[in-house]
């Protein structure tokens, strides 16, 4: 294996400075995609190793987190997707149906009433709502809101046109808003 982009020590140092600070972000995404710690570990490790081997291809000055997430998603699509895990809702209709059932069950953790706008104590609800989003909407939302990537960067990470990013974010957020509003109503935080 020929080393490119400088000596090994130099590559290691740069990798530790530029890439490893994003490890938690990658692990978080790996946990969301793989849905269990063992597979997340495998996915993260494969991603880190591949990124390290191809670190010479990373363009200095671009968003390293976006570059790493691109590798993570590629790895995931190329073999870490598990078939046994619980399938999330695949259509908007499914999603609404699931939300409805969830609301009727009323099984959310108790927390102090707050307004939807301040959002305190909404962790459970946010997770529940995200978990029921169609996968591709959820991924787009997390990349823009949590990882703070631009639509352009997300287009690269997910390998989809920028217009598709835009519509997934838009529809995903609308569904999320609906679900959170539903939860908030149910808890008496806001009135319908």
């Amino acid at each position: 294996m020929a080393l490119k982009g400088g000596t090994g020590d130099d590559r290691r140092k740069r990798f530790e400075e530029e890439a490893l600070p994003h490890l938690d972000a990658l692990y978080t995404m790996a946990m969301r995609l793989a849905r269990n710690p063992d597979d997340a570990h495998d996915l993260l490790q494969e991603t880190a190793l591949r990124a390290y081997r191809f670190f010479h291809q990373f363009e200095v000055g671009t968003n390293c987190r976006a570059w790493l997430l691109t590798i993570l998603f590629n790895n995931f699509r190329n073999g870490y997707r598990k078939t046994s895990r619980e399938q999330p809702a695949s259509t908007a209709e499914d999603f609404e149906h699931k939300i409805e059932i969830e609301s009727m069950r009323g099984n959310h953790a108790e927390s102090n009433p707050e307004t939807l706008l301040s959002g305190r104590g909404m962790e459970q609800e946010v997770e529940a709502a995200l978990g029921k989003l169609p996968e591709e909407f959820c991924e787009a939302l997390l990349l823009v809101d949590v990882e703070e990537l631009s639509y352009q960067e997300i287009s690269g990470v997910l390998n989809i046109p920028i217009g598709t990013v835009k519509s997934r974010v838009s529809r995903g957020r609308a569904m999320l808003r609906e679900a959170l509003t539903e939860y908030a109503k149910e808890r008496g935080i806001i009135r319908s």
């Binding site: 692990y27 978080t28 909404m122 946010v126």
Partner: protein
């Protein structure tokens, strides 16, 4: 611009700061005259903020982080060995290249099977191998009584301790084969060099892994099987597995009392 156009086409991009200058001016003009859309905009921002602040984030477990660093080490040392010897990509090292702190033995087992070479029935016995004798001697002592002398609460602790003494930080994961990691010991051998001993206990037996300085040691004759760079020997009534750490500076000797087929099965993982 009317309300539907704003909400359907611009709202989320507006909140995400993804509108062009012209688009921004157009939506601001609409919002200035539309209280409903101003509320809608505030809600959209709240949803975005909620995802940003409330979506669960995970911290990388220490063990996972440690194993990734160990895997990077393996790439580094593989690259250095390759620079020197020019054959770092030979199949025997693939396991250690892919290694994590817990070597995922089962992972590569299927691929390894292709490399299994069964030697004929007339295998010459392995001659005296001092490194094996050192490992065997410890194996017997540890079977009777093993006391770790490095922090052994987790594989990462052991790995850190080894690395801290410039020993390989890779550990075998024998869990899929039913072995529990008992702990690690660093000891000086008769020649004064340091060796790292990791001891595993299963329901049907024990395995000792010894990392020792290679001192230019050649692969001894008489291996009963060679599986992807790991040489297996029947030696003085024990089953022994010998491999080189990619750096070339260390050997890894695994010892068990199990018979050869079962020992190999344990090492390769239960999937074989």
């Amino acid at each position: 611009m009317d309300c539907d156009t704003y909400i359907d086409r611009y709202l989320s991009a507006h909140v995400d700061g993804e509108l062009s200058g012209d688009e921004t001016r157009a939506v601001e003009k609409h919002l200035a005259g539309c209280a409903n859309c101003r509320v809608r905009y505030a809600e959209e921002r709240a949803v975005k903020a909620m995802v940003r602040e409330r979506a669960r984030r995970y911290e990388t477990p220490v063990q996972v982080r440690g194993s990734i660093l160990a895997a990077l080490d393996a790439v580094d040392s593989g690259a250095r060995a390759g620079d020197r010897a020019g054959h770092a990509d030979r199949p025997g090292f693939s396991v250690i290249r892919r290694a994590r702190l817990w070597l995922p033995v089962a992972l590569a087992a299927a691929a390894m099977f292709a490399f299994v070479m069964l030697h004929g029935g007339n295998v010459p016995p392995a001659g005296a191998v001092p490194a094996f004798d050192s490992a065997l001697e410890r194996y017997e002592i540890f079977n009777a009584h093993f006391v770790p002398n490095v922090p052994s609460a987790s594989p990462a602790d052991i790995s850190d301790a080894y690395l801290g003494h410039k020993m390989p930080g890779l550990l075998w994961n024998l869990q899929p084969s039913g072995y529990r990691l008992v702990g690690g010991r660093l000891e000086r051998l008769d020649d004064g060099s340091l060796a790292a001993f990791t001891f595993y206990r299963g329901e049907e037996g024990t395995i000792l892994c010894a990392f020792m300085k290679a001192h230019g040691m050649q692969m001894p004759e008489g291996a009963t099987q060679i599986v992807a760079g790991h040489n297996y020997y029947k030696y003085k009534g024990y089953s022994v597995c010998l491999s080189y750490y990619p750096r070339g500076d260390f050997i890894c000797v695994l010892v068990s009392r199990k018979t050869m087929p079962y020992f190999i099965q344990d090492i390769l993982g239960s999937s074989l």
